[in-house]
């Protein structure tokens, strides 16, 4: 094994030292000269009109530079399409400070800009705004019969496939059947880092926006569209991110506000949202699901029906894939899936970790547990009997699918065989013990990406692509791929990202970054490798004289023949002999549609959870989780494991505590802070085992990776909910499972 074989190993984060030394700069840490500060004023009402913004009172304060509102915003782009970002859903995107109309609570209505943050904040508190209030509706329960199927949707949205078989008749004829409704409230991403944008005024109408975003190009294109800026007028940078989870996929109003103020004042401006305002930027929608299942005498699924309804805003049809997964996770000939939206006076929901799948998975996997009990089967055995070898939604085989091995390995590690089926049959430490499981499926997607590779005469490789690092390990895995492709130690490689001066990469979402950008990085390094080979072949006595690129390999700082390792040249010697100071190559990567066309491309997982429940007091403690993931090839065992650990924490939060509570009287979220929006803390997190089941898959992409950011969350929530049922005999169908639901 060579020393420059990095893929699949477990190197620590290459950006770790920068982070712990405080040298990794986040968007609120670029202290450009002559910086002014903007503070956003949010609407306290949910629906109505602004009658008057008493801006002059505040403008009179020494040090206040300007108050922006719809009353004085300059002429901006007119057409909706200028405001549509890469993943805008159907409808009309929200335009900050555009009109006096209020369409959701906490709508940003003004920006106060001052010489200091403290003054801007104070002035914002003093700003009087007169509103005319209108009646609002924020309660999904009132819209149960007003759901509609969205026409279009954002990129990646797939309307549910048409029904197959005879789902109604089959359900009627089933030996056993169940029908249940599942619900969860709104949830917010709540990354630790607040949305912040520092915009540097470079003079002559040119700006650089240091913006917390999961897609620098997405923001750049948005800014060009909205503000009529030229390609060379705006650069967007985001090299580090304190958590995104989907909240940074779309350009947020913080960047709009900061750019607006910068262009108008011709001065650098920073805008930082408050924690409360972080509850006004999109969320996982309040969702209601109805699941009906039926089984045959042999325990196979006779019928599966899954219908979901969720909220959206008045102005956009936010969509996510909630029910489609139910048509592919299990084998079933009679399937009916339904998906509807309902409009409320809220802000548009936004993709949040495993959007759609996380919601639909709870419905399906809790229903599967209920069905297993109704049919008298062990929940794991029930799933084994209904294992899907083909994706019946599209009637294609999977490019690879080792979910069965996930079930087996995780069950063995967990000790599922010690479980007794009867609810309330297990006890420990004076408490009821429950064991539950759930599995999931997520897309393995590759999207067009580009990268540039440069190597200096001393052999240091730099690779660039404008992707993101939201804490997942992008810097590290891209460094590994680049280093392995050109046979270098990790220290000889620098990967740079998050800058629109770099080749374009898609938004960092959908778990597609490793596959998409990773392939582009590999291609760029290979393109550079070909140039290096040509240089190596220049000397008349080159040992590689007649070699084609496929005949050689880069290993341990050498370029050598694959079949004769003695025929080798030292990379650095080649570069130095060439007289070139630097070599560079650009490349991009697209999915190989011809190769992929006959297959369904997906990652899978399963989670097993154990809980202890204090029966008298209703308190639940998750004591163990085992999570097994089949996601192709794992590039970095350490960062991938960390992602799955984080996913388990997310699943636990969704199961037991996360909910943004709406007071419908005000149309306002009441627990919009970290004290009362509960995310798990250390004391809530049990021992977590992570298992990766390796899949060889050269169909998904040349790297064989499927992405790991989202799939690990699936199954966890249902596993915990099912464990609570096993412990207590109580089936809680509305999340989160708070202690009072068990009293």
């Amino acid at each position: 094994m060579s020393q420059t074989n990095h893929i699949g190993k477990a190197p620590s984060r290459v950006d770790g030292p920068l982070k712990v030394a405080g040298a990794a700069h986040y968007s609120g840490e670029f202290n450009v000269p002559n910086l002014a500060y903007g503070y956003v004023v949010s609407s306290p009402i949910t629906k109505g009109k602004i009658l008057k913004v008493h801006a002059d009172e505040v403008r009179a304060l020494p040090g206040v530079l300007e108050v922006f509102s719809h009353e004085n915003v300059p002429y901006l782009a007119w057409f909706d399409k200028s405001y549509k970002d890469q993943i805008a859903p159907g409808g009309s995107p929200f335009r900050p400070l555009h009109a006096p109309d209020i369409t959701f609570n906490q709508q940003p209505v003004a920006l106060v800009v001052a010489d200091t943050f403290e003054l801007a904040r104070y002035a914002a508190a003093l700003l009087r705004i007169d509103y005319e209030q209108q009646e609002h509706e924020t309660n999904l329960e009132t819209k149960r019969t007003e759901g509609y199927a969205p026409g279009g949707g954002k990129i990646g949205f797939q309307p549910p496939p048409p029904p197959r078989g005879k789902p109604d008749q089959a359900l009627k004829d089933a030996t056993h059947s169940i029908e249940a409704e599942y619900a969860h409230g709104a949830q917010h991403h709540n990354p630790m880092e607040l949305f912040t944008t520092t915009v540097e005024w470079r003079g002559d109408g040119k700006i650089t926006a240091y913006d917390k975003t999961q897609g620098v190009y997405n923001v750049k294109n948005y800014l060009m569209g909205v503000f009529g800026l030229g390609k060379d007028d705006v650069r967007v940078v985001n090299q580090f991110m304190g958590g995104g989870f989907g909240a940074g996929l779309r350009p947020q109003y913080s960047v709009f506000m900061a750019v607006l103020a910068t262009l108008e004042l011709k001065r650098s401006v920073r805008v930082t949202l408050t924690r409360q305002q972080m509850f006004s930027i999109g969320h996982r929608p309040n969702t209601l699901q109805l699941v009906k299942l039926g089984t045959n005498p042999d325990g196979t699924l006779a019928a599966l029906q899954h219908h979901a309804l969720h909220e959206t805003s008045q102005f956009e049809d936010y969509t996510e894939n909630i029910v489609n997964w139910s048509g592919m996770l299990y084998k079933c000939e009679n399937v009916k899936l339904g998906y509807q939206l309902a409009k409320l006076d809220i802000y548009s929901p936004q993709d949040m970790r495993a959007p759609g799948a996380a919601s639909g998975n709870v419905g399906l996997e809790v229903a599967m547990d209920e069905m297993a009990y109704a049919a008298g089967l062990d929940p794991l055995e029930f799933r084994m009997r209904n294992y899907a070898d083909r994706d019946q939604n599209v009637d294609k085989p999977f490019s690879s699918k080792k979910l069965r091995e996930c079930y087996q390995q995780a069950a063995a590690k967990f000790g599922w065989e010690t479980r007794t089926q009867e609810p309330r049959s297990m006890r420990a430490n004076g408490k009821l013990v429950g064991m539950g499981m759930g599995g999931g499926v997520w897309d393995a997607t590759q999207v067009k990406s580009a990268a540039k590779a440069l190597i200096s005469a001393d052999g240091h490789l730099t690779v660039r692509s404008a992707t993101g690092e939201n804490g997942t390990g992008t810097y590290t895995i891209m460094t590994q791929i680049a280093a392995e492709t050109l046979g270098l130690p990790l220290e000889a490689v620098t990967f740079e990202l998050g800058d629109t001066d770099q080749p374009e990469a898609p938004i960092q979402g959908g778990s597609w970054t490793a596959a998409s950008v990773g392939t582009a990085v590999k291609n760029a390094c290979n393109a550079l490798g070909e140039k290096i080979l040509k240089l190596a072949q220049k000397p008349a006595d080159s040992p590689l004289k007649d070699a084609k690129y496929d005949d050689v390999e880069f290993v341990n700082g050498q370029l050598r023949l694959r079949l004769d390792h003695d025929q080798a040249v030292v990379l650095r010697d080649v570069l130095q002999a060439s007289g070139e100071t630097q070599l560079e190559a650009d490349s991009s990567a697209m999915p190989n549609m011809v190769k992929q066309n006959g297959y369904s491309l997906h990652s899978h997982n399963v989670a097993f959870a154990e809980v202890e429940v204090d029966e008298d007091l209703g308190s639940i403690k998750v004591t163990r989780v085992v999570s097994a993931v089949a996601a192709g090839r794992i590039l970095n065992q350490k960062t991938a494991r960390s992602q799955v650990l984080g996913s388990v924490v997310w699943g636990l939060g969704m199961a037991l505590m996360e909910e943004t509570v709406m007071d419908h009287k005000f149309g306002r979220y009441v627990n919009h802070n970290f004290a009362e929006y509960h995310i798990p803390v250390n004391a809530d997190i049990p021992h977590i085992d992570v298992i990766f089941v390796h899949e060889d898959d050269d169909i998904v992409n040349p790297l064989g990776v499927k992405g790991i950011g989202e799939v690990g969350m699936l199954g966890v929530t249902a596993a915990i909910a099912n464990a609570v049922f096993h412990a207590t005999g109580k089936r809680v169908r509305d999340l989160p499972i708070l202690l009072d639901k068990l009293l």
Binding site: P44, I45, N105, E118, R121, Y122, A125, D614, D616, L617, G618, S619, I620, K621, L656, M657, V661, D663, K665, F666, R668, V670, N671, H672, N673, A675, E676, H678, P680, V681, N682, A683, D684, L738, L739, D740, L743
Partner: protein, 339 residues
Amino acid sequence: MYPFSYSRATDVADAVRDKAGHDGSAYIGGGTNLIDLMKMNVEQPPHLVNVAKLPLSKIEDLPDGGLRLGATATNSDTAWNEQVKARYPLLNQAILAGASPQLRNAATNGGNLMQRTRCYYFYDLATPCNKREPGSGCSAIGGFNRVCGILGTSEACIATHPSDMCVALAALAPTVRVSGPNGERTIAFEDFHRLPGEQPEFDNTLVEGELITSLDLPEKGFAKHFAYLKLRDRHSYAFALVSVAVGLEMDGDTITDARLALGGVAHKPWRDLSAEQLLKGQPATAETFGRVAAHVVANAVGRGSNDFKIELARRAIVRALKQAAEGQQQAGDVYLGGQ
């Protein structure tokens, strides 16, 4: 946040004088609650008098056998004080059940008594709140009131006092020493916090300008039979939905003295003297505990999303009494809730 001036007092008299010279000013100790409230514009003091560095941080024996907890001793230093651990383990447990180590390291004992409710609406200027703006109405009544009170509430306010420490103090019944423009006085802990009535804007019975200087614990610490039970929506770093502090003295299986206080249920730490009387002389049995628990919640009123607290409180009282009678808990146990 509104602009404010700031001074650091050198002694108690200086602090009292400084505050009296600035209308609407506030004392600041650890600032773990006040600064948040100022950032939210809920509190807008034009002047702050820092009292955290006053020489009031000692924890020392009193001649009557009690223990004096200085007002500026931090919650952490108090919880881990050897005397507190040995003689008042109930206090140790309650303090450690609250907040986080970082907060407890900053928060002072006096400040703990002075912290304000965590009612969602109190913090949100976009909604009416009688406590924040008298006469504006109570949004929690008829709204989301999971964190709100069930005992001693009024139609004006159903907010709760959020402290854990104060629940143990209510059971241990110290005297609160204060200094003010009119000199020193003492207040029984039970009389320190008040019920909302028609004036929920007042959390306690301090008069303008008074400063807490110490909490004087009586000798009796219930170190053998005690329990602090806290139930919340996650296992750490969340305010109590219901908490119960119990101190018992036992002669064999008979309860000879009892203290019982609840948190998360009322505008003040809720000590129930009649329940304590019901326990005295009774055998420590499930029947006794059940009867007493039912008595405590007999007049409880739910307001919708906090209805469950009535049953939860009843069960929690039974559990805490049982734990105290059995002598299960120890000072310094890392408390993960729900046991």
